[in-house]
């Protein structure tokens, strides 16, 4: 068995604390209830204190980037849904927009509005799933069921729209394949009205709960500077006080049309990240209700040829996925298949911060931090 070796043993002499004779090496995962899939974390412990960690990833590696080189642009579109499978719509949006940019076409306004609505719904779904699992990791089992109950409503809308619930493949290069179904706007409005009090309900269970606050305050601290240096993006970066959201910084789709705020935190701890994500759900609801009010009439597909052959060139396009900056670097050689598709996965990069965030804390904090980073192993491993 050529088992993966940990570098923890190798770099032992570098760190003074590693000389402690009481250390214990524990293997957490890949089959562990709190690693959100097949993440394996090797922990070096002194009692309960974490001296160092090493993530072993790749158990879910499917070679998405390699597959992309052997599929046409259109054929590859469904594959991106399988990366961050809880935010499939965002993945599709990023990919479609990147290819559109490469083709130099623009999706029509109506398509952009539909994209925004679905993407924001998906962001709420993703955050709800995060909240449920994160709370479960910290020991509060009840929020999980509440969030799944409400996420169901979003999935129902997706299902009505495109027939799929999770890996939606909702968008096409050049716009949307499907016109909204009859009653789409009403459904979305109903959902907004339904879920707004529910978010308060989650907060009621957790935000003022002493144990929750104690478990999350000053846990997994990361400053804005450190976050930037580690390339951390998304809510984790914003919770550290960096007001940066690609929807505002480099707007795409129809985002310039909407009025919304970027919630930020101050301490960069797990509690702030929780608050930021809760606020983000509210902001997403705001965007959705604006979009649904103003959704324009018109075509939903731009003029794109049946066979896509983008001109020779390369493009990097990124969007604000629920987990952070999701980028696609696509190189075209002028043929029908991309020469290279590189995905910049937010989960992968964010996971890198785990080691820094948990050093010196307790085992229970590792769980909390893995949860708060909101990783999806499908995206980490691709």
């Amino acid at each position: 068995m050529t088992e993966r070796t940990s570098n923890l043993e190798l770099d032992a002499p570098r760190d003074k604390t590693f000389l402690d004779a009481n250390e214990l090496i524990i293997n957490m995962g890949p089959q562990h209830p709190a690693t959100h899939g097949v993440l394996r974390v090797i922990l070096k412990l002194d009692g309960e204190k974490v001296l160092g960690t090493e993530c072993v990833i790749g158990y879910l590696h499917r070679g998405v980037e390699k597959i992309a080189e052997h599929r046409t642009y259109t054929m590859f579109n469904p594959y991106v849904d399988r990366m961050d499978y809880v935010a499939a719509v965002s993945n599709g949006l990023g990919y479609c927009e990147a290819v559109e940019k490469l083709l130099n076409v623009e999706a029509p306004p109506r398509a952009n509005y539909i994209r925004v609505i679905l993407t924001e719904l998906n962001r709420i779904a993703s955050h709800q799933l995060w909240l449920g699992t994160h709370a479960l990791d910290i020991g509060a089992i009840t929020p999980l069921f509440y969030t799944f109950r409400d996420r169901e409503e979003i999935l129902k809308i997706f299902e009505k729209y495109c027939g799929a619930r999770l890996t939606t493949h909702a968008f096409r290069i050049g716009g949307c394949q499907y016109e909204t179904y009859e009653g789409f706007e009403a459904d979305v409005k109903k959902f907004v009205a339904f879920v707004t009090p529910k978010i308060d309900e989650y907060e009621e269970l957790l935000t003022t709960n002493r144990i929750w606050v104690e478990r999350t305050r000053n846990v997994g601290l990361i400053t804005g500077k450190q976050a930037i240096a580690l390339g951390v993006t998304g809510p984790v970066l914003r919770a550290s006080g960096v007001k940066w959201d690609l929807r505002k910084a480099q707007p795409y789709a129809a985002y310039p049309d909407f009025d919304f705020e970027i919630p930020i935190g101050q301490n960069g701890d797990t509690f702030d990240r929780y608050i930021v994500r809760m606020q983000e759900m509210r902001q997403s609801l705001r965007i959705i209700s604006q979009a649904v009010e103003r959704i324009p009439e018109g075509p939903i597909m731009a003029k794109v040829p049946k066979v896509l052959k983008p001109p020779v060139g390369e493009i990097y396009h990124s969007i604000e996925a629920p987990k952070g900056e999701l980028g696609y670097f696509i190189v075209s050689d002028g043929s029908t298949q991309p020469y290279r598709v590189r995905v910049r996965p937010p989960s992968f990069v964010n996971l890198q911060a785990l080691d820094m965030m948990v050093r010196g804390s307790l085992v229970a904090d590792v769980i909390a931090v893995i949860g708060t980073l909101d990783i999806v192993l499908g995206e980490v491993d691709r």
Partner: protein
């Protein structure tokens, strides 16, 4: 089943005809034919077989580029804008210094991504690409360089800690060695794996049969 025939993927179009072209923007596999020395006029359209007229790279003029050119002269091979995205093509020898400078003086404090491209037909087979972002300027650039197979690229871990895993992934997938990386080993594939899957000469269903047989106890993963 090994021959899915697709494995050696379609030869990259524009580039390979001019292997090792020094002065050329070999790096810019993109605008293959648009291999103008940087500040030159609008390059000719790509001899793209397919589309009518796509957008073309135009020279990128900015104080920063001017400064860099002044400092490094011809080391900056290209500074272009394509589809409103700026990129630099530079000599690999300048890189450590240039990346440091980009972070310290030009405020590119966020390394978005590090990746690579493989052009088997070229003499210097690999493009290594750093995608950088500056919060202060709200600006994104790409820095590209060409390196030969087996030649090391400079590691950026000391500049941006985030480069750690990103470089490991490039090493894992392309076999590019990053000099100065503290812990360069495979990240997504198992440690004992042989071969670098994202190279163009690695077939799509190819795998390390030996590893699969030893570790999984099956004949083949296919």
């Amino acid at each position: 089943m090994p021959e899915d025939t697709k494995s050696p993927s379609p030869p990259p179009p524009g580039n390979e005809p001019k292997p090792g072209a020094e002065k050329q923007s070999g790096a810019a596999q993109s605008t293959s034919s648009a291999d103008k020395p940087a500040p030159a006029a609008v390059p000719p359209k790509p001899a793209a077989p397919a589309k009518p007229t796509g957008p073309v790279p135009v020279p990128w003029d900015s104080p920063m580029v001017a400064k860099l050119r002044q400092q490094y002269g011809s080391g900056i091979r290209e500074a272009n804008t394509y589809l409103r995205q700026n990129y630099l093509v530079v000599d690999s020898s300048l890189l450590p210094e240039l990346l440091q400078l980009l972070r310290d003086e030009e405020q590119f404090d966020y390394c978005v991504d590090i990746t690579a491209l493989h052009y088997p037909q070229r003499e210097k087979q690999f493009d290594v690409i750093w995608i950088l972002y500056s919060f202060a300027r709200n600006e994104r650039i790409r820095v590209k360089t060409q390196i030969a197979d087996g030649a090391p690229a400079p590691s950026a871990v000391s500049i941006w800690p985030t480069a750690d895993w990103l470089e490991r992934e490039v090493y894992d997938m392309f076999g590019i060695i990053f000099e100065g990386h503290p812990n360069l080993k495979r990240i997504l594939l198992p440690d004992g794996w042989k071969g670098y899957p994202l190279r163009k000469d690695y077939g799509i269903i190819q795998q390390d049969q030996e590893w699969v047989q030893i570790n999984l106890g099956i004949e083949s993963g296919q």
